[in-house]
Amino acid sequence: MNRFRRSHGPGVGAFDPLKYWLILPAWLVIGFFLLAPVCLMFVFSFLTKEFRGGVIWEFSLAAYDQFLFDRGLFGDEPPRIQWTYITVFVRSITQAAMATLLCLLIGFPTAFYIATRPPQLRAAWLFLVTVPYWVNLLIRTVSMKFLLRDTGPLNEFLLAFGVIGEPLSIINTSLAVQLGLFYSYLPFMVLPIYATVERYDFTLSEAATDLYADKWTVLRRIMLPVVGPGIVAGSILVFVPSLGAFLAPNLLGGAKNFMIGSLIDEQFNGNAGNWPFGSATSMILLSLVLMALFVYARQVARQERN
């Protein structure tokens, strides 16, 4: 229904030069601030590393080789599969997935609740959802650290009420990182889901119930197909930035284990000074994300065709 209406919207069909002018600034911004840096990164990943940062303009596959093969501490053993960076990637993906799941568990009911309020109340609730965003992410992450640490309010509260006998050691664990990411990106989950639930026609649920569908079936067969795109959009908006995050892992996870973001940061701002490797790691991350989105987009296209 929606698709049908959109393809017959105003301005489509007839050539409309205004349309191109309207999109031009966006294209310029994307071209200059996104495509150009990505191209630069792509080129750098195939250059030779200069000692202590910088690149030598000679073609080299060393960065990708370093990512894939382990030649031992001294670099002279026969190459084996490099698990170091795979571990870092798997860890980051797990953390990001956990954060996304947490966001979904809290975000979906929240969005559902807001969308079912009277219109004037909805605005107030949405406003409240965005309030934490008035504060810088760094400040919010540091505050999270204060809340979670052994002597922080959370532990003191639980201790005072005798819920626990020993402080929970949350700080400097992966749980702390997941909580940090979850809290950082929660509104990214709530808002897209809200947008779809708001459009959902609740008389459809009533109709389904009249036809003897139980609550679970209504949710799964009637509602999910409609709000599904919102859930997917929210998940992407939470998952992708979580994957490259380095504030939460560094501040809440104790920087003990590299996440992809901190691994890349180390190549530019750390001791390593290995720009080609940092670029190659970024390219690999980017390719993985793009591939995942591509596969998803094809799946959606196929479903729509059916």
């Binding site: 202590r52 501490l73 104790g254 920087a255």
Partner: protein
């Protein structure tokens, strides 16, 4: 309205012509009191702007990333001075260009990282050791084993600095091996040592090194001496250790950058920091020691009396973080990456 605009225009023009002389500083965070910069501007009429960084490596990567030519002076640590000299990023200070060069204390007038002090002048120096919470642990703390082979009570409550040079440097001191070893047995031992100790460490945190001690999150925490003095001042019952195996010393230095847009201002600023009372103001602010003759008498006495300020007489000599050649450095980098994997 027109009048106001005119006044504004005149004022802008006046400041513009007056403040022709400028100085652009690239400095560590929270390391110079604003009053001192104001004083410099007042005395010389030079307009000062400052950007900050939080590690020697960030300084290097910023300069490499195309910022050389935007700053006049920077404040690299000892080993970074050596690296910046190798990289050709520093401008030589010609004899006679600094009127106050003779004010440098004799022990800092000729240093390993800048023989003959051709490129740098002393800013502040100190030591990098660790502090221990005395409420939790009351036995002997003057050993690097507190970090690398920690006693039961402190395990899992240790914070180390997120700095390869200082952490692997202290680990090398613990093992009694050189900092830039190419001996495979020694390097393997170093790798094993840090890998074995890591499960006992709670976090790698440099900027929060003081905060984790004050909050009690860490019972043992690697820290720079002045930062540690502040932790104690803020009420933590912590004591700064002077390990008998040895310790890391460091010195931050003011350098003149290549392609400095305001070379003259930079030299004036360096002369300004070689005045005892000015560098004393930095020491009173940062709780580290200066390297200028006669500055001690002008430093806040509380800073000088702090147990963190100077190593006791029976403490072993400290070592600077060493700069390894490319091949050796690659192996240390491997050890560091494996440690943080």
């Amino acid at each position: 309205m027109k009048k106001i605009l005119c006044t504004l225009a005149v004022a802008t023009f006046a400041t513009a012509s007056f403040a022709q002389e400028k100085l652009s500083i690239y400095h560590w965070f929270e390391y110079i009191p604003q009053e001192l910069l104001d004083k410099f501007s007042e005395e010389t009429g030079i307009e000062v702007t400052m950007d900050t960084y939080d590690s020697n490596e960030t300084l290097l990567s910023t300069l490499k990333g195309g910022k050389l030519g935007s700053y006049d002076v920077a404040v690299p640590g000892d080993y970074m001075v050596e690296i910046l000299i190798h990289e050709g990023m520093l401008d030589e200070i010609m004899p006679g260009e600094l009127a106050n060069k003779a004010n440098i204390q004799p022990e800092w007038a000729d240093v390993s990282f800048d023989p003959g002090r051709k490129y740098s002048i002393p800013y502040q120096w100190g030591t990098t050791n660790f502090m221990v919470n005395r409420d939790v642990y009351d036995r002997d703390i003057n050993t690097t084993a507190m970090i690398f082979d920690p006693p039961e009570e402190v395990r899992g409550k240790i914070n180390v600095l997120d700095s390869r040079g200082e952490l692997l440097g202290l680990a090398s001191i613990h093992l009694g091996i050189p900092q830039c070893s190419s001996d495979r047995e020694q390097l393997r031992a170093l790798d094993d040592l840090v890998q074995g100790a890591k499960p006992h460490w709670a976090s790698f945190n440099s900027a929060g090194a003081k905060e984790v001690l004050v909050s009690g999150e860490a019972v043992v925490g690697m820290i720079w001496n002045g930062f540690g003095a502040k932790a104690r001042q803020e009420g933590a019952n912590v004591e700064y250790a002077y390990p008998r195996e040895g310790m890391i010393v460091w010195m931050d230095n003011v350098v003149l950058l290549k392609e400095a847009p305001n070379r003259e201002s930079a030299l004036k600023f360096m002369d300004f920091l070689l005045e005892p009372e000015n560098i004393a103001a930095v020491s009173s602010y940062a709780w580290y020691s200066g390297g200028v003759i006669g500055h001690e008498d002008l430093v806040n006495p509380e800073v000088l009396a702090a147990p963190e300020a100077f190593p006791p007489d029976d403490a072993p000599a400290g070592s600077f973080v060493e700069v390894c050649d490319e091949e050796t450095d690659r192996i240390y980098d491997q050890i560091w990456t494996r440690l943080k994997q």
